[in-house]
Each structure stands twice: as structure tokens, then as C-alpha cells.
């Protein structure tokens, strides 16, 4: 969720008076990251559609996050998964399963797994690495994506950074800092996932792409589309919101 939220937060309207010709790659990414940090809390409702050859599945969920260390996910549909909740606190993850009424602490290796059968990994949702701190940035060109002029920036992780990717290339628009396209590469420089963001509209008082689509390169006919149906920024949460107790009560 962190990364997804990050990507979305990255995209909203930002400082309009930046002298664009002077800005460095790191600054572009940092400004976006600062924007994310400027947001104290985020509350979202979304629909995730997993597309497979001859098969399609839709899930609905609600998410809450505060800073970079606390988040919560609640499934609201389909009925079989309804009420399943995840709580992320730093690098620890708990999973509440209402049918057996048990809170399960998930092992870290679970983070590399597909998130509920989608093309996102659990790690995508709880990622603690920083796109600013954990990577070196370089502008490697300018391209137009969906009619918008974009910086093409290469991100190479620091040697000691605990990150999944070997390289990331992002296309960030000159106006609004929309992150319209992201390519994820593994350590062998092979393209693993492509992500694109589109359908820009007003969400939670900000202009944002409502849809994000991730396509794994090695699986033909597969993709996952995530659509925000509602977003709220800086809504206050009560003190004991991100707790094991509250996982069971979320609606």
C-alpha cells in the first residue's frame, strides 16, 4: 500500500513555481516524496481488478495510513474475503481472519508474495524503503507520455539498500508531477513490471490519476488494475486506530 499510496501522492499538484530547467533528478523525486510526507494521513477506497487469460476477479478494499509506519487494509468484497484485515506497523504485519477469529503474525518472506492473487506483492503494500534515500537518481531524457511532457529518471538502489528492484525508471510529468509511467527492473537488468497511471481526475480535492495498471512482463495476458473510488487526505484518526483491537472492528 505504501508504494501505491506513494505513487498516487507523488502525482498530485505540486509547487507550481519551480524553475523547471534547474531542478535535479533527486529534487524532482524528493519534492514528490516530501509531498507524500506532508500528508499526515490518507484514507482510500479502491477496487482492484485482477485480469488473467479467460478470468477476471474484482476485490474492494478500504485503506488507512499515517506517516510511513502505520497502515491498515480492510477487504469489503467479495463476501468470502470480507472483513479480512491487515495491520502494518513498521516492518511487522498482522492479519486478522474473521472466520477463524485469529490474528496471525505474518513472516517477512510473505512480503514477497502476491498480494491476494494480484500482480502487486505484499511488499508493494508495506514497503518501507525510501525512493529518495535508497536510490541514486539521474535524468536520462525527456519523453511525452499521454500528451504530457515528462522527465525520464533512472533510479539505481544504493548497494546496502534493502530493496527488491535492481533499477527503476520513472516518467514524471513537468506539470503537476504526475508519475505516469514506471518500469521496474530486476538485478539482471531485465524488465519485470510495467506500471502506468491514467484517468486523471479530482480525488480528495487533488488532481490525481484514479487508475493504476501493473503488467508483469513474463506473464502473457495478465495485469492488475487499481482504481481509487474515494480518497481523503489528512482526516484525523483516533489514537488507537492502528491497533490489533481496531482490526476487528473496522467496517
Amino acid at each position: 500500500m505504501k508504494r501505491i499510496l506513494f505513487l498516487s501522492v507523488l502525482i498530485f499538484v505540486s509547487v507550481p513555481f519551480i524553475a523547471q530547467n534547474k531542478i535535479s533528478a533527486k529534487e524532482i523525486v524528493k519534492k514528490a516524496d516530501d509531498l507524500m510526507k506532508g500528508v499526515k494521513t490518507t484514507k482510500a477506497e479502491m477496487i482492484i481488478t485482477t485480469v488473467r487469460p479467460k478470468w477476471k476477479r474484482t476485490m474492494k478494499m478500504k485503506t488507512w495510513s499515517k506517516g510511513t509506519n502505520l497502515s491498515m487494509i480492510l477487504f469489503t468484497s467479495p463476501v468470502k474475503e470480507k472483513g479480512i484485515t491487515f495491520l502494518m506497523k513498521g516492518k511487522e504485519v498482522w492479519n486478522w481472519i474473521p472466520s477463524i477469529e485469529r490474528t496471525i503474525k505474518l513472516p517477512p518472506s510473505m512480503m514477497m508474495q502476491s498480494f491476494m492473487g494480484t500482480d502487486f506483492t505484499n511488499d508493494d503494500l508495506v514497503k518501507q524503503s525510501s525512493i529518495v534515500k535508497d536510490y541514486n537518481h539521474k535524468i536520462i531524457g525527456e519523453e511525452t507520455i499521454e500528451g504530457r511532457k515528462c522527465y525520464k529518471i533512472e533510479l539505481i538502489p544504493h548497494e546496502d539498500a534493502a530493496v527488491v528492484w535492481g533499477k527503476i525508471i520513472v516518467w514524471i510529468s513537468h506539470d503537476n508531477y504526475f508519475q505516469l509511467k514506471v518500469n521496474f527492473y530486476d538485478e539482471d537488468d531485465e524488465l519485470v513490471n510495467k506500471m502506468r497511471a491514467y484517468d486523471i481526475k479530482n480525488l480528495g480535492g487533488r488532481l490525481l490519476p484514479a487508475k493504476m495498471e501493473i503488467t508483469p512482463m513474463d506473464k502473457k495476458g495478465q495485469k492488475t488494475v487499481m482504481e481509487y473510488t474515494s480518497l481523503e487526505f489528512d482526516v484525523p484518526f483516533k489514537d488507537n486506530f492502528f491497533t490489533v483491537q481496531n482490526m476487528k472492528r473496522l467496517k
Binding site: 478470468w55 485469529r102 505474518l106 513472516p107 518472506s109 508474495q113 488507537n240 491497533t243 490489533v244 483491537q245
Partner: protein, 388 residues
């Protein structure tokens, strides 16, 4: 007494509902969900005698959000049994119609030679939550287990992985008070009354988080025993590492008898390609170390935290993963050392449609009979499930 309790409970719910409905919509107040399953099964020890059985299994969960603090819940489990076992077993209905709770909420609606319809209310409680407090009274599941396979800390309704069609487990008629001392820590006291103290459980649990581990300690009067135990859930590097242990000692002759230790520990790991492995070990200090006559029971309902397996040393491995995006496969193996009992449970689960699921589960038992290791029984279960 029992009837009074039930009436009081019903009145509370009805009162609560009529009170709150004035302000809210029905859907905000009452949540109804559950499933319907059709489960045909085939059992055989050798190809000569195959018996086929059928089960239609319906679950209705009703949750009422009476007010911000009060929630009520009633879950009904309805099952229709028919087939050869029902035909061949006299008093099959009576066998199914068991309720060990304070209030008898088990109803045998149809009890014919060929068909049995049984209804059971396995959850019926009123929950009060305010601030850091939560009080729950009535039939409820108190799940203190940590491991996937064996739960030595699960004093109230021990989980049984073999009984795959009833993951909700029966409830306990109990009063339970929880106080949350932190974000991931709480204190809990639960009382399951019986005729006298030897038939009651009074237990306390303290759960806390330290050094990225969840820990819990428990102390209880467990029927005629004193039970002391604890558990943990954490990881070694990327591998999950969990465990739980409980020591049971009879209250009578407390000083001069030795107790029973039930200890289970497990590790689990998810590989990059989505294959999940869980391995577990169980020690039941009272368990058997050599083969005995007769089929050892992995019993559906006899299992307790004190006796999770009939053998002293038992091992469990489960492998699971997606074969195709909508097809999941798993194999679980249980081995009981000494008695030489082996249990295989391969399963395939297919997602037909959003709310429709199909599964095929096998259960294969091996054991020693007259000093010979041989196949003792096999079952195949097909299951179609519709969730609503």
C-alpha cells in the same frame, strides 16, 4: 436457568435493534452472511467397499450492530446428512446432536433413517466494547492458538486442521473480558462455567510485543488441572518462527504427580514463486510411543489442547501454492512417531466465480495393524461452495 439466559439474551438483542433501527438503515445495523456447501464424499479402505455420503452444509452469520458499543452475533450451522453412512448407522441423528455448552442450542430437526437435518447455534453472544475494554458474553470462539497445525495454548476450542469443513470451530459458552494495554498487547480473562470447578475453565492471557516478536503467557484452571503456558510468533531472518506450550498438572496431588506437557513449534516460509511451506513439531508428553491396536483417531471433536495427537512425537508439513491463478493446490502430511501413523491430505481449490468455489480434498490414513504398516482408510471430498 439456561432458558432464562437465552430469553434475556434474545430480549437484549431485540430491544437493542428496535432502539437503534429508528435512526439507522437495516443494512447498517444487521449484517447477514455465510455460505452454502454441497459436499459429497467417498470413503473406502480397499476398492471393494466404497461408501458414498452427502452433506449439505449451510452457515448463516447474523451480526447486529446495536450501538457503537454493543454488538450481537448469532451464527447458525445447518447440515443435512444423507447417504450410506447415515443409512447404515443407527441413531446417526443422536450422534450428531451434541451440545457441550451451558445452553443446549443443538436441534435435531429431521431424524430419519435416510436423512438427518441438524441445526446448531455455534455463536450467540453479546459484545460490549468501549475504549480499551471489550466484554463478551455467550457462545463464542476464544482462539488463543498461534501455530497453523497444533495449538497447545488453544484451551477453549482447539483447532483441528483435519476437520477442514469446520474452520469456525464450535463456540464456548463463556464470559470473556479483554483489556488492550497497547497497540499490539492485551490482557484477557475468560471463564467457561461448568457444573463445578472440575468442569470449568478459568483462564487468563497476557499478550505483548517485544523485539518484533509477539509473546503470550497463559495461566488457567483447566477442568481438574492447573495449566500454565505461553507462546511466541516471530521470525528468524525471513522465516516465520512460532511456538506454544502448555503444562497441565492435576490440582489434586499437585505436588506429587507429574503433569503433561503439550508443546508445538513451527516454522513457515514463502518462496518467491508463491509456494508456502509450514513445518511443525508436536510433543504430547502423555502420548504413546509404540503402536497399539485399533485405528488411532485424529478425531474431529475429541482433540484438546492437552491432547492434540495420540502420539508423543508428531510432525507436520504443509506445502501450498497456486498451480494456475485460479487453482490452488496443497498437501498436508502428519506423522505420528512410534505409533507409526501417517496422514495425507492433498487438496485442490478452484475459484469458479466470484462467490463460487470448488474443492477436492483427499484424506489418506496409514497405520500399523498387527505389526504391519498399511492403509487404514481413505476419503475423497468434493465441495461446491457458494458464499453470500
Amino acid at each position: 436457568m439456561k432458558i432464562k439466559l437465552f430469553i434475556l439474551f434474545s430480549l437484549l438483542i431485540i430491544h437493542g435493534l428496535s432502539f437503534s433501527q429508528e435512526k439507522k438503515k437495516f443494512k447498517d445495523v444487521i449484517n447477514i452472511y455465510g455460505y452454502v456447501k454441497y459436499l459429497p464424499s467417498f470413503s473406502f479402505t480397499n476398492a471393494n467397499g466404497i461408501s458414498s455420503d452427502h452433506l449439505i452444509h449451510n452457515r448463516i452469520n447474523i451480526k447486529a450492530f446495536i450501538s457503537n458499543s454493543f454488538t450481537a452475533r448469532i451464527d447458525v450451522r445447518n447440515r443435512i446428512f444423507f447417504g450410506e453412512t447415515v443409512n447404515a448407522t443407527p441413531y446417526y441423528g443422536q450422534l450428531v446432536d451434541q451440545d457441550n455448552g451451558e445452553v443446549d442450542m443443538s436441534y435435531l430437526i429431521v431424524d430419519e433413517d435416510a436423512v438427518v437435518l441438524h441445526s446448531m447455534i455455534d455463536r450467540a453472544y453479546l459484545d460490549f466494547s468501549k475504549g480499551k475494554w471489550e466484554v463478551r458474553a455467550g457462545r463464542q470462539r476464544i482462539n488463543w492458538g498461534i501455530n497453523l497445525a497444533w495449538n497447545a495454548n488453544d484451551l477453549f476450542n482447539a483447532y483441528n486442521i483435519v476437520d477442514f469443513d469446520y474452520q469456525e470451530r464450535p463456540g464456548s459458552d463463556a464470559l470473556r473480558v479483554q483489556y488492550y494495554t497497547g497497540d499490539v498487547s492485551h490482557i484477557e480473562v475468560a471463564y467457561k462455567p461448568g457444573e463445578d470447578i472440575d468442569e470449568s475453565i478459568i483462564a487468563a492471557l497476557y499478550k505483548f510485543n517485544k523485539a518484533k516478536y509477539d509473546f503470550q503467557v497463559i495461566a488457567a484452571n483447566y477442568y481438574s488441572d492447573v495449566a500454565l503456558g505461553g507462546g511466541w510468533a516471530g521470525n528468524i531472518k525471513n522465516t516465520g518462527f512460532k511456538g506454544e506450550a502448555t503444562y497441565f498438572q492435576t490440582r489434586e496431588n499437585f505436588s506429587d504427580t507429574s503433569g503433561i506437557l503439550s508443546l508445538s513449534t513451527s516454522i513457515d516460509y514463502s518462496f518467491k514463486k508463491g509456494i508456502y511451506v509450514n513445518g511443525a513439531f508436536l510433543l504430547n508428553s502423555d502420548g504413546l510411543t509404540s503402536a497399539t491396536a485399533g485405528l488411532p483417531s485424529f478425531g474431529a471433536n475429541q482433540l484438546t489442547a492437552k491432547s492434540l495427537m495420540p502420539t508423543k512425537y508428531s510432525y507436520f508439513v504443509q506445502l501450498s501454492g497456486a498451480i494456475y491463478p485460479q487453482l490452488n493446490g496443497s498437501v498436508s502430511v502428519i506423522y505420528g512417531q512410534g505409533m507409526n501413523i501417517l496422514f495425507f491430505m492433498p487438496a485442490l481449490a478452484y475459484s469458479l466465480h466470484e462467490n463460487w468455489d470448488l474443492s477436492l480434498t483427499g484424506q489418506i490414513y496409514f497405520g500399523e495393524e498387527q505389526s504391519k504398516f498399511k492403509n487404514l482408510g481413505n476419503s475423497i471430498f468434493l465441495r461446491v461452495q457458494f458464499s453470500y
